[in-house]
Symmetry: C2
Subunit: 218 residues, 2 copies
DNA sequence: ACCGCGCATTGATCAACGTCAATAATGAGC
DNA sequence: GCTCATTATTGACGTTGATCAATGCGCGGT
């Protein structure tokens, strides 16, 4: 992942991320409470992370796709603090954390890179807080779809046509809404002509207008 | 902050956090968009952090008190991504980030400690996401007060009697509520006999019941 | 290809919270 | 100590999204 390394350094980073692991759709990569030992970089596939509170409430805290790092929440306590579950058959690289720590003490580019990744995770979480704290249902949905679109396009896929890997209920959990509200919101965006929904397939017709729909009503 | 260092290491960490800075009530410690250079550890006082979105929406993302670290959000982009503002006259230690990076490459206890702090920040943000996504107004308020109580008690102050440093509006922004809802919620908790509110002064009478009030209604 | 269950859509109703408004109380600054 | 602006409280009403319910559809598994 990091750039600007020497041949030799690249080799050492490569052997750091030696082992791989396949996770079948629906199966956990890790569960809350399990001892933390490794970070995971997604090679292929799609995951959700979910926290469960003491009183049984569940909340999806994020959806992760290829190239993204999972498990950062476990460093602080030495135990994973959320469940990570594959939304489709997936493959991850296993990154033993103590070896990452050692290596990042020697390769400062790697250290910087790792710090940046953690920091961006904090910023990402804060923007979700803003979404949950200030946006209305349809705005949240628009923001969610625009975010997905951008992440797909940065991976070389279409910005305007993609398949959702998660259910309405999971989207709702992530956005702080009930699944019915998600469904209604999608129908409404469709009625307004911004996109077409057919189950999990999304075709965005007016990406600009969808971005505008993230802001308070006209 | 870290423990288990040798005399010499402690000395080096001490000189890392050399300079201090006073921030008067209402003044910013840093603003969104400013270049990121340092982290800040609060010595005394009380801060809020606040993000402002493109369309002008504001959201308080946290309240920080003595011993807590601010500025982690700036590492990823090299710019601060939120405003940090003092809620009372405060003093912070300035921690130049590149020197922290260097030193943490040499002192692995420091490195581990720093990674844990960042990770805990991620976990904290996720629990706020859960609060915003799943809790009702009164539950959010109860959770907020219990959290404050715990943080005060871990600093040697009373768990049951303290002064809020922030306005109802700031509490509301943090909890995704309007200030009127915050005010009504506090009045309601008072009517139920769980606590007494007099402006910014809070006296918790039944901490256990307040904790129960964080869960869905009886 | 078929079956069955999980997932999605849509409608009707309701409660929670937001909005608007009026008033009261505080405390910061002079 | 006084004054004014800021902050807080409370009420009446409106809106949004949750809840309850019924139906339909699609996809995974065999």
């Amino acid at each position: 992942m990091p750039v600007g390394l020497s041949e030799q350094e690249i080799e050492r980073v490569d052997e750091l991320v030696g082992t791989r692991r396949k996770v079948a759709r629906g199966m956990p990569l890790y569960l809350s409470g399990e001892p933390f030992q490794s970070l995971f970089a997604i090679r292929t596939g799609f995951f959700k992370t979910e926290v469960v509170s003491e009183d049984g409430r569940e909340q999806v805290t994020g959806f992760q796709m290829a190239g993204e790092l999972m498990g950062l929440d476990g460093i602080g306590t030495g135990q994973h603090n959320c469940d990570a579950r594959a939304l489709e058959d997936s493959e991850v690289c296993v990154i033993p954390f103590n070896r990452l720590s050692e290596l990042s003490r020697e390769i400062d580019t790697l250290q910087h890179h790792f710090h940046k990744v953690m920091s961006r995770e904090i910023v990402r979480d804060q923007s979700v807080m803003m979404l949950l704290g200030t946006m209305r249902a349809e705005e949240r949905l628009a923001a969610f779809l625009v975010n997905l679109s951008q992440r797909f396009v940065s991976r070389g896929y279409s910005a305007t046509e993609f398949n959702l890997r998660m259910t309405r209920e999971e989207i709702g959990s992530y956005l702080g809404l009930k699944l019915e509200t998600v469904s209604r919101g999608l129908s409404r965006l469709q009625d307004e002509g911004l996109l077409s929904v057919s189950n999990k397939n999304i075709r965005i017709h007016k990406l600009d207008d969808l971005k505008k729909a993230m802001s308070p009503r006209c």
